[in-house]
Assembly symmetry: C2
Homo-oligomer: 132 residues x 2
Amino acid sequence: MKLSSKGRYGLKAMCELAKHYGEGALSLPYIAGETFLSEKYLEQLLSVLKKDDLIDATRGASGGYFLKRPPEEISVGEILRSLENGLEIVDCLSGDCKNKSTCQTYGVWAKLYGAINKCLDGISLKELVEGE
Amino acid sequence: MKLSSKGRYGLKAMCELAKHYGEGALSLPYIAGETFLSEKYLEQLLSVLKKDDLIDATRGASGGYFLKRPPEEISVGEILRSLENGLEIVDCLSGDCKNKSTCQTYGVWAKLYGAINKCLDGISLKELVEGE
DNA sequence: TTAATCCCTATCAAATTTCTAGGTATTATC
DNA sequence: GATAATACCTAGAAATTTGATAGGGATTAA
């Protein structure tokens, strides 16, 4: 059970944006430089985060990306659910599992899913960039 | 972030063993039949669980597999750590990450790792087969 | 001796993830 | 108005991981 690179790298990119919150937009080349990611790869991560309304962007010369809300109002849970396309650790949590009622292990996944979300929703982006 | 089939199926096999705890060994073909898994695949899962001392086996005719401890003394955490080869959701939790001190996101993974283990260690195999 | 069982390890196939690449649309600035 | 800097979109190559199959060996109750 591993978090994907998308999640790990995307969270770092979000930290970078948080660090400069309020200073206007950061360009893709700049963020790529700070996070040591290729521009093309980072671009895809940012597009996911934008689709999920966590960041926004302005186009054209001197454009770039920026957080849509202040860092203290964005949780790590939101960010990872966006990048990982949900944190359901087993498929029966997403789709409608018809054996839910008789399945001996369903309860485990439900509890674990709850614990993961509770943990991650309790950490704000601000905490990360301010070192707790 | 998905749990592997190994984890899901292996836990089901453990439930089967728990259901018959104290009744002697269950053969591979029997467990395979109950869990709807191929014998050859299930065999690999059981070999992992055996290596990690959660189950034991007797060979030869009328041999089979059985829990090494009573179901109430085996946690789901132990089982999944065995099958998943650890529950470290990122590699820096296992190996020695040299950037631990400066990494902005390390704290997140550490907290999450703790939450996952705490949750799963709090559920015993007995609870699963007795329906809470 | 036989048949039923666990044990070991190699390998194939499929799926997923990671990353690269090329081109398009937009816009501030000169 | 031209230019250069930017974000946006989509296809797909490459690498890795996962899931599953297969064959043969060792052990032991009957």
